[in-house]
Each structure stands twice: as C-alpha cells, then as structure tokens.
C-alpha cells in the first residue's frame, strides 16, 4: 500500500510541477558559497555537460547508503519533503490524499502487515497472516506488544474500524476500491443497508478473519492493513463522531497517533513536523532521538542539501547535474513506479453500460499509424539530453520494477523514422496533395490534435519535440487549443473523451499491483484511450484469476499481454524514470530498496 502513494506521487507530481515551475525560483544558489571549491567545480560541470550523453548509459545508483558506521546514540535528523506548496496535513491512512501526507504518515504509522520487494504481504510485520486453501479467507493475527503511541494495544477492532470507515456511505476518499469491495458483505455495508460487514469476523483482540467474494492474487498486494485507533479518534459507528468531523479533527491534523517508530510532537501546519522516538516501538528502540521533517522548495533543495541542513531529500531530475558533484552526500536511486505515455483516443466511455466502446472509424483507429507514431518519437535523446539519463525509453506497459512480470523480450519501438515512414506508406497514408503532410487512407486531410499537460520546465520543449518528430515523418500534429493545459483542464478533457483530442501525453503511477486491468480493462474508466479487444479482456481476466496465484502462470499471461500491447499500441510508452534521492554521508542504515521499509526505525546518523 505504500505503493499506492507512489502512484499518487506521479499524478501529484504533475500538479505540483506547475507550481514548482513557479516557486522554484529562487534558489539559485550555489553560488559563491564555497569560493575555493568554485574552480574545480566549474570544470567538472563543464565536463559533465559535454559528456552526459555517454554517461547516461552507465547510470548506476546504489539503493542503500554506504556509510556502515554505528548510528549515533540520540541522533537528530532533518528530512525534506520536496514540495512547492504546503502539505495538506490529513494525517490518517484512510483519508489522506497528498503524497507529502503519505511521507509524514510513514514515520509514525505503519501497516500491520509488512511487504516484500515485490510488494506482496509478508509475515514480518506487526501481524501475521494465513490464506485459506481456496485463497478466499485471510486470517490475521496481531503480534504481542504492538501498542499505539498512547500506550493502548493495537486491536483487531482497530483494523476493522479502517474497513468500516473506507466502506462507510459517507466516505469520500479514494481508497474504496474493488479490493475493499471484494470483502464479503462490503457492498451492502457501503450502500448503507447494514451496519455489519459480514465478511470480517473478529475472533479476539488479536485475531480476525477476512472473507473475500472472489479469490484474486490482488489481495496479496492490495490488502489494506492500516489500523485506525478507534479509542483515540472517536467511533463513527456508535455516533460518537461523524466522518466529516473525523476528517477535520485535531486527532488527525494536530496530534495524530500511530504505532510506528516515531511519535509526532508538534506540527507547524503546512510547513514542518517534529517527531520524537517511540520508546515502545514493537520492533525495538528507534535509532534517532528526534526528526524534523520540513517542506523545502524544489528550487532550494540542492542548496539546502549542500549546506548540510538536510539529511534526506528527493531530488528533482532536472537538478541532477547540480547535485551530482556535491560531496557531502550520496545519491540513491531506483526506477520509479511510473511511466509516461502517448495515448491514442479510439472510442468513448459508455456511462450507461459502464464500459469502453472502441470506435473502428476513429481517427487513430489505424494500428499502423499508431505504431509509426511510436517509431517516430526520439525518446532516447529526450532522456539523455533533458534528463541526463534519469529517464530512458519505455518498452512495455509493465514497468521493469515488477521484476517478475516485466517482459524483457518486448523491446519497444526505438527511434526509427524510416521504419515509421515505411509503415505509413504501406498503410496508405500518403501525401497526395504535395503539401508535405500525409493524408489519411481515404485521401482526406489528416490533422492530429495533441493534448499535453503544462507543468515543469520540460513540458513545453518535449511536446514540441514530439510534434517535430511526427512532422518529420509527414504527420501534421497540432496542439489542442494551441497551448498546453493545466492538470485539471487536461484530465477534464481526457476523461470526458473531448472530441478535440486525438492523442495525448499522460503518465501513470502503476502502484504496487502489477495487474493492469484498472488502466486498460474494458470496464476501466481510466482506460482513457477507450481501446478494447477480446484478447485483452481474456488476458486481463486470466491475470487475476485464482489460477494466477501460480506465479509462472501469471507471468506467462502478462508476457502475452505485453506483447499484445506492443502490437496494438493503445498507448505508446515514452519514458521510464529514476527517482533520485540524496542522503547526507552521515546517514546510516538507510535504504530505498522495496521491502526495506521495516528498517525505518534503524535509520540513523553517525558522528
């Protein structure tokens, strides 16, 4: 579930970037602070700029800090939330929506079940689980000694409470999804027909049972194991409080509690959070005495890191060159749970039938046209020149992070304008009137309308570059409304199948669940291209069937699916990205490897 926040990340990043562009300004900083070092640095910079193209291929970042010294007793750490705007401060797993709120939550609250490197639930956390023979019943047992920050033990009724909140008819967050709905009795509860969720059975304070309507491997990656301290925040079920009051309550915004390694001491709204060590943490004594987590503008982050003010921070990709030679830090990175893509609109969402309807006469209906447009995009250059290798061409719709499912044999369509032209010629897209642009198969003028989002400095040159690429193979592509759109305006058009749009550039966070049906299924409203096919339906269904608990089977299914996507090109993945983090060299035991979340309490600083 941490992964969900990652997806959020992607979407939020887009929103933020608009802002960042604005705020960032300032900083500029490196300036002459270290005058003596200035000289060599200048030289280095030049070198890297020239050579960055070659370097790109060799990018190789560690996942963990190399300092292996003992963590200092009672150390203090400062962590940055790199944001151009204040964090929202809805500090509860069921209600939060911002990425930064998620970052704060992870210090003082954790799921009862831990997850491994594949984001599947394990028995290493504060609770253990067992799945029944038919994969439909999950029994969860809370370990001894797991206590909320106020000293109360964490009970099964607290986890039940989370489900009662998520499914509540008044719940207005985005976490009531099909995995929650899959719990037996949940739809009835959600509609307000009953007060009980029949599929959740409390055996005693430490043991409970979840029964699901359908067996699906998604349970293993999407199981909601975040408990809510019923005794502390107040009980909605008894009428003690309401969902609306709860969301805005001080118990969530001012002094929330969890059972994680650190406790919240103080919050300056929107700005910073002060944590102190939770001596009763169930895994053991956390290494740090206190932590300050504060919002730092993306513009100033490199300077702050350089100054040593900040121990941990994410670094925006466009500042890689500046940060790479800072010598008091170490850079960590892993491939992010997201990809950018070009979507080809091929139909409409039928709100009545609740499914996507593909229109065979759509402007983008030709498979060859879509394939050619993919071949025409020079993503390698964008990744190298604009992102210094921190982004690289995407190949398939299941990203490499899902090691078990990403199909290496699908190589994507690398920049090859000749092949693109060939494809178009063969498919009958030819320039018949000699204006330099191709007409469609029927000889009619073809103008493709392209929507792209504003935000970040790179948005505009990238959109421009793609349009040039397409013009080079003879396709006339124009920006919708002649400009880039902001996040809301963009998705408003894309979601509602605005006829103004033929193709668009979007990005998806993939979440922790490799299952793509939420984004590409026939009934998925997020399937913005409205692409459908029988084969697609079949494969997606098989991927989450009970049989798919068998890893090999699932793998095979998803390989077939990736090949189908490569062939049909409902969307063309453009780039994958690295998420870059900087850690001060005094930081120890820190790792960003998936599945190492449980070591958070060991993070520390050395002398």
């Amino acid at each position: 579930m941490k992964k969900r926040s990652l997806m959020l990340l992607a979407s939020l990043m887009l929103v933020l970037s608009v802002f960042l562009a604005a705020c960032s300004g300032d900083d500029s900083a490196d300036g002459g602070k270290d005058k003596d070092k200035g000289k060599d640095k200048g030289k280095d910079n030049e070198k890297t700029e020239e050579g960055s193209g070659d370097n790109a291929a060799e990018l190789d970042f560690p996942l963990a800090v190399s300092n292996d010294a003992e963590a200092m007793e009672d150390g203090e750490m400062t962590v940055a939330m790199v944001a151009g705007e204040p964090f929202e401060g809805t500090l509860n797993r069921n209600f939060y929506s911002g990425t930064y709120d998620a970052e704060i939550l992870s210090y003082f609250d954790e799921g009862l079940l831990d997850t491994d490197g594949d984001y599947l639930i394990t028995n290493e956390g504060a609770a253990t689980y067992e799945l029944s023979e038919d994969n439909k019943t999950l029994t969860l047992k809370i370990k001894d000694g797991v206590k909320w920050h106020d000293g109360e033990p964490v009970k099964t009724s607290d986890l039940l409470y989370s489900y009662q909140l998520l499914g509540h008819p008044d719940y207005a967050g985005n976490r009531y999804d099909f995995i929650i709905e899959n719990v037996v009795g949940m739809p009835e509860y959600h509609e307000g027909k009953t007060k009980e969720i029949s599929g959740i059975e409390i055996i005693n304070d430490q043991e409970m049972k979840f029964t699901y309507t359908e067996a699906s491997p998604s349970i293993l990656s999407g199981f909601w194991s975040y408990a809510t301290p019923r005794h502390y925040v107040g009980d909605v079920m008894t009428g003690e409080t309401t969902i609306k009051d709860l969301e805005s309550s001080d118990k969530i915004r001012v002094n929330p509690i969890g059972f994680g390694p650190y406790k919240i001491d103080k919050i300056v709204p929107g700005e910073s959070v002060l944590y102190s060590r939770n001596d009763d943490y169930w895994r053991g004594k956390p290494a740090l005495k206190s932590i300050v987590q504060k919002v730092v503008s993306p513009a100033t982050i490199v300077e702050s890191v350089k100054k040593g003010d900040i121990d941990l921070a994410t670094i925006p990709a466009d500042q890689y060159l500046t940060v790479k030679d800072v010598d008091n830090i170490e850079l960590l990175a892993q491939v992010d749970y997201a990809y950018t893509y070009i979507g080809f609109k091929q139909g409409k969402w039928d709100a009545k039938k609740k499914e996507n309807v593909t229109d065979p006469d759509a402007k983008m209906a030709s498979k060859e046209l879509r394939q050619a447009m993919w071949y025409a995009m020079d993503n390698a250059t964008i990744g190298e020149k604009l992102y210094h290798g921190l982004r690289f061409p995407g190949t398939s719709l299941i990203i490499p992070v899902f090691k078990s499912f990403h199909d290496e044999s699908v190589e994507g369509r690398m920049f090859d304008p000749e092949k693109a032209k060939q494809l178009l010629d063969d498919a009958g897209f030819e320039d018949k009137d000699g204006d330099g642009f191709r007409e469609d198969q029927n000889g009619e003028k073809l103008v493709i309308n392209f929507a792209s989002m504003s935000g970040g400095e790179t948005a505009e040159p990238i959109a421009k570059a793609y349009m040039q690429n397409w013009a080079d193979i003879g396709l006339k592509v124009e920006l919708v409304d002649g400009r880039l759109h902001d996040f809301n305006a963009f998705y408003d058009m894309v979601e509602n199948d605005d006829p103004k749009i033929d193709i668009y550039q979007g990005a998806w966070g993939t979440g922790s669940d490799p299952d793509p049906s939420g984004l590409y299924g026939r009934t998925a409203s997020f399937n913005y291209t409205r692409y459908t096919s029988e084969k697609n339906d079949e494969l997606l269904k098989a991927g989450t069937s009970e049989k798919a608990f068998d890893l090999e089977y699932r793998k095979d299914i998803y390989n077939q699916w990736q090949e189908l996507m490569y062939e049909d090109v409902p969307v063309a993945p453009t780039v994958y990205r690295y998420a870059l983090e900087a850690a001060n060299k005094r930081v120890v035991n820190y790792s960003i490897e998936p599945g190492k979340e449980s070591d958070r309490y060991k993070w520390g600083v050395a002398e």
């Binding site: 979407s11 300004g25 009531y176 300050v292």
Partner: protein
C-alpha cells in the same frame, strides 16, 4: 462619523454579496473540478465511487443551487468544506490569514520606515545629489518586477550569505510561546518582508517629494521664513505637518497592492499564507477555498479604503464625509 462608518459597513454587504456571486460563478467555470484526476492514484477505484463523491460534495448540482447552499452557510460563518484539505475552509484559513497579515504588516511598516525619510530628504534637498540618488532608487524599485527582486534577495541573503532562513515561517524545534519563537518568526519574516517593502516605496516617496517641493513654494511657508523661523523648524512645523498627514490616508489603498504582492512573496519564500494557498487552490480547483480567499481580500480592501476615508476626514475637516 459613527454614522458614516455604519453606512459604509452597510454598503459593504451588497458589495461582498456581489463579489461572492461573481467569484463563485467564475470559479465554477474553471475546467474540471477538485475530483478530476484525484483518483489517478488508485486505478482500482470504481467510477461509481468517483460519481458518489462528486454527488457528496454537490459538484454535480447546477451552480445556482450550489451558490444558494453556499450563501446559506456563509451567512452563518461557514465557508464550506475544502476538498483538498478535507477540513472546513474557516479553520484552514485561520492559520494562513495570520501569516499573511503578519507579512503584510511587516511590509507596510518597513516600507514606510524607508519611504518617509527618503521622501523628506529628496523633497527638502531637491535637485541635489541626494535627491538624484533617491529618485534613481525609486525608479529602480518601480521598474523591477517583484519576483525578480525577491528571487535575488533569496539567493544573495538566504544562500550565498546564509543570513536568513530560505523558507517557512518558524523553526519547529523552538518551543511554542517563548520569546525565542517570536524571534525565530521574525527571522523568517525579514527576507520576504524586506523584498516586499523595498519595492513598495514608490508611491510614498514620489508623493512626499513632490508635495514638499510644492509646499516649499507656498505663501505660508514663505511667510514663516520671512519671519525668521529657522529652516529646520519651517520643515518640522509647517511643511511636514501638511505633507505627512495624507500619507496616513493612503494606507487603506496600499492594501490592494499588498495582497497582490503577498502572492509572489509567499510562493517564492515558501511562506504559508493566503497567496500561496490561493495558487494551490486554483491548480487544485478547490472552489470553496478560492471563493473564500477572494472574499477575504475584497473585504480587506473595503475596510482599508474606509479606514483611509475616516483618517482623511479626521485630519482634514475640509473633507466632509457625506
């Protein structure tokens, strides 16, 4: 006077009402709403759930229904619920308003502290090098866009010299309610405050200088001089008294400028106030918050201009308030 204030307050009601109607309708016209894209974080959410949430926030109702509901609550002091922040707008704004007021007051005080002496100097010694220097500074301050100047200030004093913090409003490690915390707040205020203040001096300096130059030539000053009143006294007794008072009267009008300026200062210095929140709410389509912030700004301007009129009539009985 009391009657006047009362009447002005009465006029304020329809003004605010109209303002709320306009901004509410406009805000609704922005493409998309707070729910657009908010679910991209979780592709497993069903479209029904998304619709249900729009329904719950009343986002599907026609605008007049929404506006009616909003006004009904607003007169009771409830400005609605923020979608993004999941809390009542009033409590969300409470903290931000304080920050913005602090910042604006600081800007106002510093700008007067800089502008009044400079204006007097320039007026008294007009056409000397002092005057030329001051006038040049004044043009520069007028010609430099606020954001460029603020960025440079941050760069130089925040990073190169490291004298001031580069973001936020207070150091969280310092205990609340102590003097140290007050100092920390002040320390965080200096950079954004100075940036704003140094560019807000144009009007005051310009006015003072011109007015003093004008007054110098007036008969009553000449008479005083001819009577042998020392030059210093001519200024303190006769000229300044006349020229300084109207400055107080402009105070109210300055508020409009301060509100615009605070957007830039807050965004650049990561200072959580109304301006920053406004931009955030525009991008997030958090309609209720947008409406509330515009209303507050409008009210501030109304109250400010009223204050100006009151001061003006208090110091100059010739100006009658109708």
């Amino acid at each position: 006077m009391v009657k006047f204030i009362f009447r002005r307050l009465l006029v304020m009601i329809p003004q605010l009402f109209l303002l709320s109607l306009i901004i509410f309708v406009l805000a609704k016209q922005m493409p998309g709403d707070a729910v657009t894209g908010a679910f991209m974080g979780n592709p497993n959410v069903t479209p029904e759930q998304v619709e249900k949430i729009r329904e719950q926030y009343g986002l599907n109702d026609p605008w007049y229904v929404q506006y009616g509901a909003w006004v009904g609550k607003a007169v009771k002091g409830d400005l609605g619920q923020s979608y993004t922040h999941k809390q009542p707008v009033t409590s969300l704004l409470a903290g931000r308003v304080a920050n913005t007021i602090t910042l604006s007051l600081f800007v106002l005080i510093v700008s007067y502290a800089v502008a009044i002496p400079l204006g007097i100097l320039a007026g008294r010694w007009s056409d000397t090098w002092v005057d030329k220097l001051i006038v040049t500074y004044n043009y520069f301050s007028f010609a430099t866009p606020l954001f460029v100047f603020a960025l440079l200030m941050l760069f130089v004093f925040g990073f190169i010299l490291g004298w001031f913090p580069t973001g936020g409003s207070v150091d969280i490690r310092i205990e609340s309610g102590t003097f140290a915390q007050f100092m920390s707040k002040l320390h965080h205020l200096v950079l954004p405050g100075l940036s704003g203040a140094l560019l807000a001096t144009f009007g005051t300096i310009q006015y003072l200088r011109n007015d003093i130059i004008d007054t110098k030539l007036k008969d009553f000053v000449k008479t005083a001089r001819s009577k042998g009143v020392p030059e210093g006294k001519v200024y303190t007794r006769h000229i300044l008294r006349n020229s300084l008072l109207p400055i107080a009267a402009f105070l109210g009008y300055e508020i409009t400028g301060l509100i615009g300026g605070s957007i830039f200062l807050e965004v650049i210095f990561s200072y959580p106030g109304l301006g920053q929140l406004f931009i955030q709410s525009i991008t997030g389509r958090d309609f209720t918050v947008v409406t509330a912030i515009v209303m507050i700004s409008g009210a501030a301007v109304i109250v400010g201009t009223m204050l100006s009129d009151v001061i003006l009539s208090a110091i100059d009985p010739r100006i009658r308030i109708e």
